[in-house]
Amino acid sequence: MMATSNEALLAVKLAGRVVIATGGAKSMRGLTSDELCGKPLTSFILDPAAVNEQHGFVSACIGDADGGAEHVEMTVASLDGLGADFKAFALRGARRGAQAGEPVQENQPRGFQALIQAVSEYAIFTLDAKGNISTWNAGAERIKGYSPSEIIGRPFAILYPPEARDEKLPERALETARREGRFVAVAERLRKDGTRFWASVVLTAVRSRSGSLRGFTEVTRDVTARHEAQREREELRRRFVQITAHEIRNPMAGVKGMLGLLRGRIEAGQPAPPPETLLAMMDGEVDRVADLVDRVLESYRVRDPAISFEILPHDLRDTVRTSVEPFVQGAVDRRFSVILGKDPAPVRGDFRRLGMVFQHLVANAVKYSSAGTRVGVRLDRDGELLRVVVTDEGIGIPAEDLPRVFQGFFRASNLKGRDPGGMGLGLQLCRSIVERHLGRIWIESQEGRGTRVHVALPRLEA
Protein backbone atom coordinates (compact mmCIF):
# COMPACT_ATOMS: atom_id res chain seq x y z
CA MET A 1 0.00 0.00 0.00
CA MET A 2 1.39 3.34 -0.98
CA ALA A 3 1.44 5.98 1.69
CA THR A 4 3.77 8.84 2.39
CA SER A 5 4.76 9.52 5.93
CA ASN A 6 2.15 12.16 6.58
CA GLU A 7 -0.70 10.29 4.90
CA ALA A 8 -2.76 7.41 6.22
CA LEU A 9 -5.81 5.54 5.17
CA LEU A 10 -8.10 3.84 7.62
CA ALA A 11 -11.02 1.69 6.54
CA VAL A 12 -13.56 1.38 9.27
CA LYS A 13 -16.32 -1.11 9.65
CA LEU A 14 -18.35 -2.81 12.35
CA ALA A 15 -19.21 -0.23 14.96
CA GLY A 16 -16.25 2.01 14.21
CA ARG A 17 -13.44 -0.53 14.36
CA VAL A 18 -10.50 -0.17 12.04
CA VAL A 19 -10.22 -2.97 9.47
CA ILE A 20 -7.50 -1.61 7.19
CA ALA A 21 -4.74 0.86 8.12
CA THR A 22 -1.93 1.95 5.81
CA GLY A 23 1.71 2.38 6.79
CA GLY A 24 1.36 6.14 7.13
CA ALA A 25 -0.59 5.59 10.33
CA LYS A 26 2.61 4.43 12.01
CA SER A 27 4.50 7.62 11.39
CA MET A 28 1.50 9.68 12.41
CA ARG A 29 0.50 7.73 15.42
CA GLY A 30 3.36 5.37 16.17
CA LEU A 31 1.22 2.29 15.83
CA THR A 32 1.61 -0.37 13.18
CA SER A 33 -1.23 -1.48 11.01
CA ASP A 34 -1.61 -4.71 13.02
CA GLU A 35 -1.82 -2.77 16.24
CA LEU A 36 -4.50 -0.49 14.84
CA CYS A 37 -6.70 -3.11 13.24
CA GLY A 38 -9.57 -4.15 15.45
CA LYS A 39 -9.21 -1.03 17.63
CA PRO A 40 -12.01 1.50 17.75
CA LEU A 41 -11.41 4.55 15.60
CA THR A 42 -11.70 6.73 18.71
CA SER A 43 -8.35 5.37 19.93
CA PHE A 44 -6.76 7.14 16.97
CA ILE A 45 -8.95 10.15 16.20
CA LEU A 46 -9.70 12.18 19.30
CA ASP A 47 -12.62 14.29 17.99
CA PRO A 48 -15.90 12.43 18.41
CA ALA A 49 -17.53 14.70 15.81
CA ALA A 50 -14.90 13.75 13.22
CA VAL A 51 -15.40 10.03 13.92
CA ASN A 52 -19.12 10.38 13.25
CA GLU A 53 -18.58 12.28 10.00
CA GLN A 54 -20.27 10.49 7.08
CA HIS A 55 -18.48 12.11 4.18
CA GLY A 56 -16.67 15.28 3.29
CA PHE A 57 -13.61 17.12 4.58
CA VAL A 58 -12.95 17.76 8.23
CA SER A 59 -10.00 18.65 10.38
CA ALA A 60 -9.41 16.55 13.43
CA CYS A 61 -6.97 15.95 16.23
CA ILE A 62 -5.20 12.62 16.31
CA GLY A 63 -3.34 11.33 19.34
CA ASP A 64 0.22 10.02 18.97
CA ALA A 65 1.97 7.26 20.86
CA ASP A 66 3.67 9.68 23.27
CA GLY A 67 0.37 11.19 24.39
CA GLY A 68 0.76 14.20 22.10
CA ALA A 69 -1.72 15.33 19.51
CA GLU A 70 -1.48 16.34 15.90
CA HIS A 71 -3.86 18.23 13.69
CA VAL A 72 -4.83 16.52 10.43
CA GLU A 73 -7.08 17.04 7.44
CA MET A 74 -9.39 14.14 6.82
CA THR A 75 -11.36 13.03 3.80
CA VAL A 76 -14.20 10.83 4.92
CA ALA A 77 -15.88 8.76 2.25
CA SER A 78 -18.99 6.82 2.93
CA LEU A 79 -18.73 3.57 1.00
CA ASP A 80 -22.20 2.23 1.69
CA GLY A 81 -22.09 0.06 -1.39
CA LEU A 82 -19.30 -2.02 0.17
CA GLY A 83 -21.57 -3.16 2.94
CA ALA A 84 -23.24 -1.74 5.98
CA ASP A 85 -21.28 0.78 8.01
CA PHE A 86 -18.18 0.85 5.83
CA LYS A 87 -16.31 4.12 5.85
CA ALA A 88 -12.90 5.18 4.67
CA PHE A 89 -10.93 7.86 6.53
CA ALA A 90 -8.09 9.35 4.53
CA LEU A 91 -5.84 11.46 6.70
CA ARG A 92 -3.20 14.00 5.78
CA GLY A 93 -0.93 15.67 8.32
CA ALA A 94 -1.76 19.37 8.69
CA ARG A 95 1.89 20.44 8.46
CA ARG A 96 1.68 19.86 4.74
CA GLY A 97 -2.10 20.03 4.72
CA ALA A 98 -4.28 20.67 1.74
CA GLN A 99 -5.59 24.08 0.90
CA ALA A 100 -9.31 24.54 0.84
CA GLY A 101 -10.69 24.49 -2.67
CA GLU A 102 -8.38 21.81 -4.03
CA PRO A 103 -10.09 19.30 -6.32
CA VAL A 104 -11.45 16.26 -4.59
CA GLN A 105 -8.97 13.69 -5.93
CA GLU A 106 -5.97 15.74 -4.96
CA ASN A 107 -7.23 15.93 -1.42
CA GLN A 108 -7.16 12.16 -1.15
CA PRO A 109 -3.89 10.47 -0.31
CA ARG A 110 -2.57 8.06 -2.89
CA GLY A 111 -3.09 5.18 -0.43
CA PHE A 112 -6.80 5.78 -0.57
CA GLN A 113 -6.81 5.78 -4.35
CA ALA A 114 -4.69 2.66 -4.43
CA LEU A 115 -7.18 0.87 -2.20
CA ILE A 116 -10.18 1.97 -4.26
CA GLN A 117 -8.37 1.28 -7.50
CA ALA A 118 -7.60 -2.29 -6.51
CA VAL A 119 -11.13 -3.24 -5.55
CA SER A 120 -12.47 -5.47 -8.30
CA GLU A 121 -15.69 -6.72 -6.77
CA TYR A 122 -17.28 -3.27 -6.83
CA ALA A 123 -17.31 -0.58 -9.43
CA ILE A 124 -16.12 2.54 -7.62
CA PHE A 125 -15.83 5.74 -9.59
CA THR A 126 -16.11 9.45 -9.10
CA LEU A 127 -18.02 12.08 -11.02
CA ASP A 128 -17.42 15.77 -11.24
CA ALA A 129 -20.20 18.14 -10.19
CA LYS A 130 -21.73 17.94 -13.69
CA GLY A 131 -21.91 14.15 -13.66
CA ASN A 132 -18.89 13.45 -15.89
CA ILE A 133 -16.75 10.48 -14.87
CA SER A 134 -13.43 11.52 -13.31
CA THR A 135 -11.94 8.28 -11.87
CA TRP A 136 -12.65 4.65 -12.72
CA ASN A 137 -11.43 1.63 -10.72
CA ALA A 138 -10.64 -1.97 -11.70
CA GLY A 139 -14.07 -3.16 -10.55
CA ALA A 140 -15.80 -0.61 -12.77
CA GLU A 141 -13.76 -1.82 -15.72
CA ARG A 142 -14.58 -5.45 -14.92
CA ILE A 143 -18.29 -4.92 -14.33
CA LYS A 144 -19.05 -2.36 -17.02
CA GLY A 145 -16.43 -3.20 -19.64
CA TYR A 146 -14.98 0.28 -20.25
CA SER A 147 -11.29 0.96 -19.67
CA PRO A 148 -10.48 4.20 -17.79
CA SER A 149 -9.29 5.90 -20.99
CA GLU A 150 -12.55 5.09 -22.75
CA ILE A 151 -14.81 6.48 -20.09
CA ILE A 152 -13.10 9.22 -18.10
CA GLY A 153 -14.56 12.57 -19.08
CA ARG A 154 -17.80 11.11 -20.42
CA PRO A 155 -21.19 11.63 -18.76
CA PHE A 156 -22.18 8.81 -16.40
CA ALA A 157 -25.60 8.74 -18.10
CA ILE A 158 -24.11 6.43 -20.77
CA LEU A 159 -24.17 3.69 -18.12
CA TYR A 160 -27.99 3.87 -18.13
CA PRO A 161 -30.26 2.02 -20.57
CA PRO A 162 -31.84 4.30 -23.23
CA GLU A 163 -35.33 4.27 -21.72
CA ALA A 164 -33.90 5.37 -18.36
CA ARG A 165 -32.05 8.21 -20.10
CA ASP A 166 -35.32 9.20 -21.81
CA GLU A 167 -36.94 9.43 -18.39
CA LYS A 168 -34.04 11.62 -17.21
CA LEU A 169 -33.15 9.12 -14.46
CA PRO A 170 -29.40 9.99 -14.46
CA GLU A 171 -30.21 13.66 -13.87
CA ARG A 172 -32.73 12.76 -11.19
CA ALA A 173 -30.19 10.52 -9.42
CA LEU A 174 -27.65 13.37 -9.32
CA GLU A 175 -30.34 15.75 -8.11
CA THR A 176 -31.34 13.39 -5.27
CA ALA A 177 -27.71 12.92 -4.21
CA ARG A 178 -27.19 16.69 -4.36
CA ARG A 179 -30.30 17.38 -2.27
CA GLU A 180 -30.24 14.48 0.21
CA GLY A 181 -26.57 13.52 0.29
CA ARG A 182 -27.04 10.23 -1.49
CA PHE A 183 -29.08 8.26 -3.96
CA VAL A 184 -29.64 4.51 -3.58
CA ALA A 185 -31.19 2.20 -6.16
CA VAL A 186 -31.32 -1.32 -7.56
CA ALA A 187 -31.83 -0.88 -11.28
CA GLU A 188 -30.74 -2.02 -14.72
CA ARG A 189 -27.49 -0.63 -16.09
CA LEU A 190 -25.75 -0.99 -19.43
CA ARG A 191 -22.36 -2.57 -20.14
CA LYS A 192 -20.10 -1.32 -22.88
CA ASP A 193 -21.20 -4.20 -25.14
CA GLY A 194 -24.83 -3.13 -24.78
CA THR A 195 -25.86 -6.01 -22.49
CA ARG A 196 -27.76 -5.20 -19.33
CA PHE A 197 -27.20 -6.16 -15.72
CA TRP A 198 -28.89 -5.48 -12.40
CA ALA A 199 -26.89 -3.04 -10.32
CA SER A 200 -27.08 -2.02 -6.70
CA VAL A 201 -26.03 1.61 -6.82
CA VAL A 202 -25.06 4.12 -4.13
CA LEU A 203 -24.33 7.61 -5.39
CA THR A 204 -22.94 9.98 -2.77
CA ALA A 205 -22.41 13.73 -3.07
CA VAL A 206 -18.95 14.98 -2.02
CA ARG A 207 -18.81 18.50 -0.63
CA SER A 208 -15.99 20.75 0.46
CA ARG A 209 -15.68 22.13 3.97
CA SER A 210 -17.53 25.22 2.82
CA GLY A 211 -20.38 23.04 1.57
CA SER A 212 -19.87 23.56 -2.15
CA LEU A 213 -20.46 20.48 -4.32
CA ARG A 214 -17.21 18.94 -5.56
CA GLY A 215 -18.64 15.89 -7.23
CA PHE A 216 -19.97 12.43 -6.51
CA THR A 217 -18.73 8.95 -5.69
CA GLU A 218 -20.61 5.97 -7.01
CA VAL A 219 -20.30 2.41 -5.75
CA THR A 220 -21.99 -0.19 -7.93
CA ARG A 221 -22.36 -3.90 -7.38
CA ASP A 222 -23.54 -6.40 -9.99
CA VAL A 223 -26.51 -8.05 -8.29
CA THR A 224 -27.89 -9.79 -11.39
CA ALA A 225 -27.55 -13.28 -9.90
CA ARG A 226 -29.27 -12.24 -6.68
CA HIS A 227 -31.95 -10.41 -8.61
CA GLU A 228 -32.63 -13.41 -10.85
CA ALA A 229 -32.75 -15.74 -7.86
CA GLN A 230 -35.24 -13.44 -6.20
CA ARG A 231 -37.39 -13.30 -9.34
CA GLU A 232 -37.30 -17.08 -9.52
CA ARG A 233 -38.39 -17.32 -5.88
CA GLU A 234 -41.25 -14.91 -6.50
CA GLU A 235 -42.31 -16.87 -9.56
CA LEU A 236 -42.24 -20.11 -7.54
CA ARG A 237 -44.32 -18.50 -4.80
CA ARG A 238 -46.81 -17.20 -7.37
CA ARG A 239 -47.14 -20.64 -8.94
CA PHE A 240 -47.50 -22.27 -5.52
CA VAL A 241 -50.36 -19.91 -4.63
CA GLN A 242 -51.98 -20.35 -8.05
CA ILE A 243 -51.91 -24.13 -8.01
CA THR A 244 -52.73 -24.74 -4.35
CA ALA A 245 -55.60 -22.24 -4.54
CA HIS A 246 -57.10 -24.15 -7.43
CA GLU A 247 -56.40 -27.61 -6.05
CA ILE A 248 -57.84 -26.83 -2.62
CA ARG A 249 -60.78 -24.69 -3.69
CA ASN A 250 -62.19 -27.31 -6.05
CA PRO A 251 -62.71 -30.10 -3.52
CA MET A 252 -63.84 -27.52 -0.98
CA ALA A 253 -66.38 -26.22 -3.47
CA GLY A 254 -67.58 -29.81 -3.92
CA VAL A 255 -68.10 -30.37 -0.20
CA LYS A 256 -69.62 -26.95 0.37
CA GLY A 257 -71.90 -27.49 -2.61
CA MET A 258 -73.08 -30.87 -1.28
CA LEU A 259 -73.82 -29.29 2.09
CA GLY A 260 -75.67 -26.41 0.42
CA LEU A 261 -77.74 -28.85 -1.62
CA LEU A 262 -78.58 -30.90 1.45
CA ARG A 263 -79.54 -27.82 3.48
CA GLY A 264 -81.76 -26.54 0.66
CA ARG A 265 -83.59 -29.83 0.39
CA ILE A 266 -84.12 -30.10 4.17
CA GLU A 267 -85.43 -26.52 4.35
CA ALA A 268 -87.81 -27.14 1.45
CA GLY A 269 -88.93 -30.45 2.92
CA GLN A 270 -87.79 -32.23 -0.23
CA PRO A 271 -86.10 -35.61 -0.33
CA ALA A 272 -82.29 -35.38 -0.23
CA PRO A 273 -80.08 -37.22 -2.72
CA PRO A 274 -79.36 -40.82 -1.61
CA PRO A 275 -76.99 -40.71 1.38
CA GLU A 276 -74.54 -43.13 -0.25
CA THR A 277 -74.12 -40.75 -3.18
CA LEU A 278 -73.57 -37.79 -0.86
CA LEU A 279 -71.18 -39.65 1.41
CA ALA A 280 -69.16 -41.13 -1.45
CA MET A 281 -68.84 -37.72 -3.09
CA MET A 282 -67.87 -35.86 0.08
CA ASP A 283 -65.48 -38.63 1.06
CA GLY A 284 -63.82 -38.37 -2.33
CA GLU A 285 -63.43 -34.60 -2.08
CA VAL A 286 -61.97 -34.75 1.43
CA ASP A 287 -59.53 -37.47 0.29
CA ARG A 288 -58.38 -35.19 -2.51
CA VAL A 289 -57.41 -32.48 -0.04
CA ALA A 290 -55.68 -35.06 2.17
CA ASP A 291 -53.79 -36.44 -0.88
CA LEU A 292 -52.74 -32.96 -1.82
CA VAL A 293 -51.30 -32.31 1.63
CA ASP A 294 -49.52 -35.69 1.48
CA ARG A 295 -48.00 -34.90 -1.91
CA VAL A 296 -46.76 -31.49 -0.84
CA LEU A 297 -45.28 -32.96 2.35
CA GLU A 298 -43.74 -35.93 0.52
CA SER A 299 -42.05 -33.59 -1.94
CA TYR A 300 -40.37 -31.84 1.00
CA ARG A 301 -39.73 -35.06 2.91
CA VAL A 302 -37.73 -36.71 0.13
CA ARG A 303 -35.44 -33.68 0.02
CA ASP A 304 -34.83 -33.82 3.76
CA PRO A 305 -31.63 -35.78 4.48
CA ALA A 306 -32.94 -36.48 7.98
CA ILE A 307 -35.75 -38.62 6.56
CA SER A 308 -34.44 -42.12 6.04
CA PHE A 309 -35.29 -44.27 3.06
CA GLU A 310 -35.91 -47.97 3.39
CA ILE A 311 -32.98 -49.15 1.30
CA LEU A 312 -33.09 -52.85 0.43
CA PRO A 313 -31.77 -54.89 -2.49
CA HIS A 314 -34.45 -55.76 -5.01
CA ASP A 315 -35.04 -56.30 -8.71
CA LEU A 316 -35.87 -53.05 -10.49
CA ARG A 317 -38.05 -55.00 -12.93
CA ASP A 318 -40.45 -55.70 -10.03
CA THR A 319 -40.57 -52.02 -9.07
CA VAL A 320 -41.31 -50.93 -12.62
CA ARG A 321 -43.83 -53.72 -13.25
CA THR A 322 -45.75 -53.02 -10.02
CA SER A 323 -46.00 -49.31 -10.71
CA VAL A 324 -46.91 -49.58 -14.38
CA GLU A 325 -49.42 -52.45 -14.14
CA PRO A 326 -52.41 -50.39 -12.89
CA PHE A 327 -52.12 -48.21 -15.99
CA VAL A 328 -51.76 -51.13 -18.38
CA GLN A 329 -54.64 -53.06 -16.78
CA GLY A 330 -56.79 -49.97 -16.28
CA ALA A 331 -59.19 -48.35 -18.66
CA VAL A 332 -56.58 -45.96 -20.03
CA ASP A 333 -56.80 -45.80 -23.81
CA ARG A 334 -53.08 -45.95 -24.71
CA ARG A 335 -51.02 -48.58 -26.48
CA PHE A 336 -48.60 -49.65 -23.74
CA SER A 337 -45.32 -51.29 -24.54
CA VAL A 338 -43.47 -52.49 -21.45
CA ILE A 339 -40.10 -54.18 -22.05
CA LEU A 340 -38.25 -55.20 -18.91
CA GLY A 341 -35.96 -57.91 -20.30
CA LYS A 342 -35.02 -61.36 -18.99
CA ASP A 343 -31.86 -60.42 -17.08
CA PRO A 344 -32.06 -59.58 -13.39
CA ALA A 345 -31.90 -55.85 -12.65
CA PRO A 346 -30.52 -55.69 -9.10
CA VAL A 347 -30.62 -52.35 -7.26
CA ARG A 348 -30.41 -51.16 -3.69
CA GLY A 349 -33.24 -48.79 -3.03
CA ASP A 350 -36.51 -47.82 -1.42
CA PHE A 351 -39.00 -50.01 -3.31
CA ARG A 352 -42.03 -47.82 -2.52
CA ARG A 353 -40.35 -44.54 -3.41
CA LEU A 354 -38.72 -45.81 -6.59
CA GLY A 355 -42.17 -47.12 -7.49
CA MET A 356 -43.54 -43.60 -7.07
CA VAL A 357 -41.03 -42.38 -9.66
CA PHE A 358 -42.27 -44.78 -12.37
CA GLN A 359 -45.92 -44.19 -11.42
CA HIS A 360 -45.43 -40.45 -11.86
CA LEU A 361 -43.60 -40.83 -15.15
CA VAL A 362 -46.23 -43.12 -16.65
CA ALA A 363 -49.05 -40.96 -15.26
CA ASN A 364 -47.45 -37.93 -16.93
CA ALA A 365 -47.03 -39.83 -20.20
CA VAL A 366 -50.77 -40.61 -20.13
CA LYS A 367 -51.83 -37.17 -18.94
CA TYR A 368 -50.04 -35.27 -21.69
CA SER A 369 -50.90 -37.58 -24.59
CA SER A 370 -54.12 -38.41 -26.38
CA ALA A 371 -56.12 -41.61 -26.68
CA GLY A 372 -54.69 -44.24 -28.98
CA THR A 373 -51.05 -43.07 -28.80
CA ARG A 374 -48.16 -45.24 -27.64
CA VAL A 375 -46.65 -45.13 -24.14
CA GLY A 376 -43.40 -47.06 -23.81
CA VAL A 377 -41.52 -48.25 -20.71
CA ARG A 378 -38.20 -49.94 -21.29
CA LEU A 379 -35.53 -51.17 -18.87
CA ASP A 380 -31.98 -51.80 -20.10
CA ARG A 381 -28.59 -52.42 -18.61
CA ASP A 382 -26.19 -49.60 -19.44
CA GLY A 383 -22.78 -50.72 -18.13
CA GLU A 384 -22.79 -50.23 -14.37
CA LEU A 385 -26.17 -48.54 -14.57
CA LEU A 386 -29.73 -49.63 -15.07
CA ARG A 387 -31.69 -47.33 -17.30
CA VAL A 388 -35.46 -47.00 -17.48
CA VAL A 389 -36.88 -44.90 -20.31
CA VAL A 390 -40.52 -43.77 -20.36
CA THR A 391 -41.70 -42.51 -23.75
CA ASP A 392 -44.90 -40.87 -24.92
CA GLU A 393 -46.26 -39.34 -28.14
CA GLY A 394 -47.91 -36.43 -26.36
CA ILE A 395 -47.81 -32.64 -26.53
CA GLY A 396 -44.14 -32.46 -25.54
CA ILE A 397 -42.43 -29.69 -23.63
CA PRO A 398 -41.25 -26.44 -25.27
CA ALA A 399 -37.44 -26.27 -25.35
CA GLU A 400 -37.37 -23.08 -23.26
CA ASP A 401 -39.32 -24.80 -20.47
CA LEU A 402 -37.12 -27.92 -20.27
CA PRO A 403 -34.61 -26.49 -17.76
CA ARG A 404 -37.43 -25.71 -15.34
CA VAL A 405 -39.59 -28.84 -15.44
CA PHE A 406 -37.91 -30.28 -12.35
CA GLN A 407 -38.86 -27.24 -10.29
CA GLY A 408 -41.94 -27.56 -8.12
CA PHE A 409 -45.28 -26.11 -9.26
CA PHE A 410 -44.02 -25.71 -12.79
CA ARG A 411 -46.43 -25.70 -15.71
CA ALA A 412 -45.15 -25.80 -19.28
CA SER A 413 -46.12 -22.80 -21.37
CA ASN A 414 -47.87 -24.90 -24.04
CA LEU A 415 -50.68 -25.69 -21.53
CA LYS A 416 -52.04 -22.13 -21.98
CA GLY A 417 -54.48 -21.99 -19.07
CA ARG A 418 -55.57 -25.61 -19.46
CA ASP A 419 -55.58 -27.57 -16.28
CA PRO A 420 -53.47 -30.71 -16.30
CA GLY A 421 -54.58 -31.43 -12.71
CA GLY A 422 -52.30 -32.05 -9.76
CA MET A 423 -49.73 -29.83 -8.14
CA GLY A 424 -46.88 -29.83 -10.62
CA LEU A 425 -44.73 -31.55 -8.03
CA GLY A 426 -44.30 -34.94 -9.73
CA LEU A 427 -41.04 -34.40 -11.59
CA GLN A 428 -39.46 -32.56 -8.67
CA LEU A 429 -40.36 -35.51 -6.44
CA CYS A 430 -38.97 -37.96 -9.03
CA ARG A 431 -35.66 -36.13 -9.21
CA SER A 432 -35.30 -35.97 -5.44
CA ILE A 433 -35.97 -39.71 -5.10
CA VAL A 434 -33.65 -40.66 -7.97
CA GLU A 435 -30.85 -38.45 -6.62
CA ARG A 436 -31.22 -39.97 -3.15
CA HIS A 437 -30.48 -43.30 -4.89
CA LEU A 438 -27.33 -41.77 -6.48
CA GLY A 439 -29.04 -41.86 -9.83
CA ARG A 440 -29.85 -39.33 -12.50
CA ILE A 441 -33.04 -38.31 -14.30
CA TRP A 442 -33.25 -36.27 -17.50
CA ILE A 443 -35.73 -35.39 -20.20
CA GLU A 444 -35.67 -35.13 -23.96
CA SER A 445 -38.72 -33.63 -25.56
CA GLN A 446 -40.02 -32.18 -28.79
CA GLU A 447 -43.05 -29.97 -28.67
CA GLY A 448 -45.92 -31.63 -30.48
CA ARG A 449 -43.97 -34.88 -30.91
CA GLY A 450 -43.56 -36.38 -27.46
CA THR A 451 -41.35 -36.78 -24.44
CA ARG A 452 -38.73 -39.28 -23.33
CA VAL A 453 -37.72 -39.43 -19.66
CA HIS A 454 -34.55 -41.32 -18.69
CA VAL A 455 -33.86 -42.66 -15.21
CA ALA A 456 -30.40 -44.12 -14.56
CA LEU A 457 -29.69 -45.93 -11.30
CA PRO A 458 -26.53 -47.72 -10.10
CA ARG A 459 -26.75 -51.44 -10.73
CA LEU A 460 -26.09 -53.51 -7.63
CA GLU A 461 -23.01 -55.63 -8.39
CA ALA A 462 -23.16 -59.21 -7.15
Binding site: N250, M252, G417
Partner: protein, 124 residues
Protein backbone atom coordinates in the same frame (compact mmCIF):
# COMPACT_ATOMS: atom_id res chain seq x y z
CA UNK B 1 -87.75 -23.94 -20.88
CA UNK B 2 -84.19 -23.71 -22.17
CA UNK B 3 -81.71 -25.55 -19.97
CA UNK B 4 -78.77 -24.01 -18.15
CA UNK B 5 -75.54 -25.52 -19.46
CA UNK B 6 -73.03 -26.42 -16.73
CA UNK B 7 -69.46 -26.93 -17.94
CA UNK B 8 -66.90 -28.11 -15.35
CA UNK B 9 -64.40 -30.97 -15.29
CA UNK B 10 -65.22 -31.65 -11.61
CA UNK B 11 -68.07 -34.21 -11.46
CA UNK B 12 -69.14 -33.29 -7.91
CA UNK B 13 -69.39 -29.62 -8.77
CA UNK B 14 -71.40 -30.34 -11.91
CA UNK B 15 -73.70 -32.56 -9.85
CA UNK B 16 -74.41 -30.02 -7.10
CA UNK B 17 -74.89 -27.08 -9.47
CA UNK B 18 -77.28 -29.03 -11.70
CA UNK B 19 -79.24 -30.36 -8.74
CA UNK B 20 -79.57 -26.90 -7.19
CA UNK B 21 -80.67 -25.39 -10.51
CA UNK B 22 -83.31 -28.11 -10.89
CA UNK B 23 -84.48 -27.45 -7.32
CA UNK B 24 -84.96 -23.81 -8.38
CA UNK B 25 -87.09 -24.84 -11.34
CA UNK B 26 -84.47 -24.76 -14.10
CA UNK B 27 -83.56 -27.48 -16.46
CA UNK B 28 -79.88 -28.27 -16.38
CA UNK B 29 -77.52 -30.04 -18.72
CA UNK B 30 -73.89 -30.70 -17.87
CA UNK B 31 -70.66 -31.69 -19.55
CA UNK B 32 -66.99 -31.97 -18.59
CA UNK B 33 -65.60 -30.66 -21.87
CA UNK B 34 -65.72 -27.46 -23.86
CA UNK B 35 -65.64 -29.39 -27.13
CA UNK B 36 -68.78 -31.34 -26.20
CA UNK B 37 -70.52 -28.12 -25.14
CA UNK B 38 -69.68 -26.47 -28.47
CA UNK B 39 -70.96 -29.52 -30.35
CA UNK B 40 -74.30 -29.32 -28.56
CA UNK B 41 -74.53 -25.64 -29.35
CA UNK B 42 -73.72 -26.33 -33.00
CA UNK B 43 -76.52 -28.91 -33.05
CA UNK B 44 -79.01 -26.27 -31.96
CA UNK B 45 -78.96 -26.34 -28.14
CA UNK B 46 -80.00 -22.89 -26.89
CA UNK B 47 -79.11 -22.65 -23.21
CA UNK B 48 -80.81 -20.04 -21.02
CA UNK B 49 -77.37 -19.47 -19.47
CA UNK B 50 -73.93 -21.09 -19.26
CA UNK B 51 -72.06 -21.78 -16.02
CA UNK B 52 -68.40 -22.44 -16.90
CA UNK B 53 -65.20 -23.32 -15.06
CA UNK B 54 -61.90 -21.80 -16.26
CA UNK B 55 -59.12 -24.32 -15.63
CA UNK B 56 -60.05 -27.55 -17.38
CA UNK B 57 -58.04 -30.17 -19.24
CA UNK B 58 -58.35 -30.01 -23.01
CA UNK B 59 -60.18 -26.80 -23.86
CA UNK B 60 -59.87 -24.15 -21.12
CA UNK B 61 -62.82 -22.02 -20.04
CA UNK B 62 -61.22 -19.02 -21.68
CA UNK B 63 -60.87 -20.84 -25.00
CA UNK B 64 -64.50 -21.98 -24.75
CA UNK B 65 -65.64 -18.39 -24.17
CA UNK B 66 -63.60 -17.17 -27.14
CA UNK B 67 -65.42 -19.68 -29.38
CA UNK B 68 -68.79 -18.86 -27.82
CA UNK B 69 -68.43 -15.12 -28.20
CA UNK B 70 -66.92 -15.45 -31.67
CA UNK B 71 -70.22 -16.76 -33.05
CA UNK B 72 -73.13 -14.28 -33.47
CA UNK B 73 -75.70 -17.04 -32.75
CA UNK B 74 -74.36 -17.41 -29.23
CA UNK B 75 -73.44 -13.86 -28.52
CA UNK B 76 -76.30 -13.05 -26.14
CA UNK B 77 -76.19 -16.17 -23.96
CA UNK B 78 -75.48 -15.01 -20.39
CA UNK B 79 -72.38 -16.60 -18.84
CA UNK B 80 -71.35 -17.12 -15.21
CA UNK B 81 -67.69 -18.03 -14.71
CA UNK B 82 -67.08 -20.25 -11.67
CA UNK B 83 -63.42 -20.69 -10.80
CA UNK B 84 -61.05 -21.87 -8.10
CA UNK B 85 -58.07 -20.29 -9.86
CA UNK B 86 -56.21 -17.24 -8.68
CA UNK B 87 -56.89 -15.09 -11.68
CA UNK B 88 -53.86 -14.32 -13.79
CA UNK B 89 -53.55 -12.96 -17.31
CA UNK B 90 -53.13 -16.56 -18.49
CA UNK B 91 -56.54 -17.77 -17.34
CA UNK B 92 -58.60 -14.58 -17.19
CA UNK B 93 -61.27 -14.57 -19.90
CA UNK B 94 -61.66 -11.50 -22.10
CA UNK B 95 -63.63 -8.62 -20.63
CA UNK B 96 -67.23 -8.71 -21.79
CA UNK B 97 -67.14 -12.43 -22.55
CA UNK B 98 -68.97 -13.22 -19.29
CA UNK B 99 -71.50 -11.44 -17.10
CA UNK B 100 -70.49 -12.58 -13.64
CA UNK B 101 -67.58 -14.29 -11.90
CA UNK B 102 -68.09 -16.50 -8.84
CA UNK B 103 -65.12 -17.75 -6.84
CA UNK B 104 -64.99 -21.36 -5.60
CA UNK B 105 -65.92 -22.46 -2.98
CA UNK B 106 -69.23 -20.69 -3.58
CA UNK B 107 -72.55 -20.50 -1.80
CA UNK B 108 -74.78 -22.72 -3.92
CA UNK B 109 -77.91 -20.63 -3.38
CA UNK B 110 -76.04 -17.45 -4.18
CA UNK B 111 -74.92 -19.03 -7.46
CA UNK B 112 -78.49 -20.02 -8.27
CA UNK B 113 -79.64 -16.45 -7.57
CA UNK B 114 -76.95 -15.11 -9.93
CA UNK B 115 -78.18 -17.45 -12.69
CA UNK B 116 -81.82 -16.47 -12.00
CA UNK B 117 -80.93 -12.80 -12.25
CA UNK B 118 -79.12 -13.19 -15.58
CA UNK B 119 -81.84 -15.38 -17.10
CA UNK B 120 -84.54 -12.91 -16.10
CA UNK B 121 -82.60 -10.07 -17.77
CA UNK B 122 -82.03 -12.01 -20.98
CA UNK B 123 -85.71 -13.05 -21.10
CA UNK B 124 -87.00 -9.55 -20.44
Amino acid sequence: MDPVLVLDDEPVIRFVICEALRDAGFEAQDTASGQAALQWLAQGLRPAAVVVDLLMPGMSGREFLEMLRGDPRWFSIPVVVVTGAELSAEVYPAEGSYQQLVQKPFDLHELVRVVEGLVSISEA
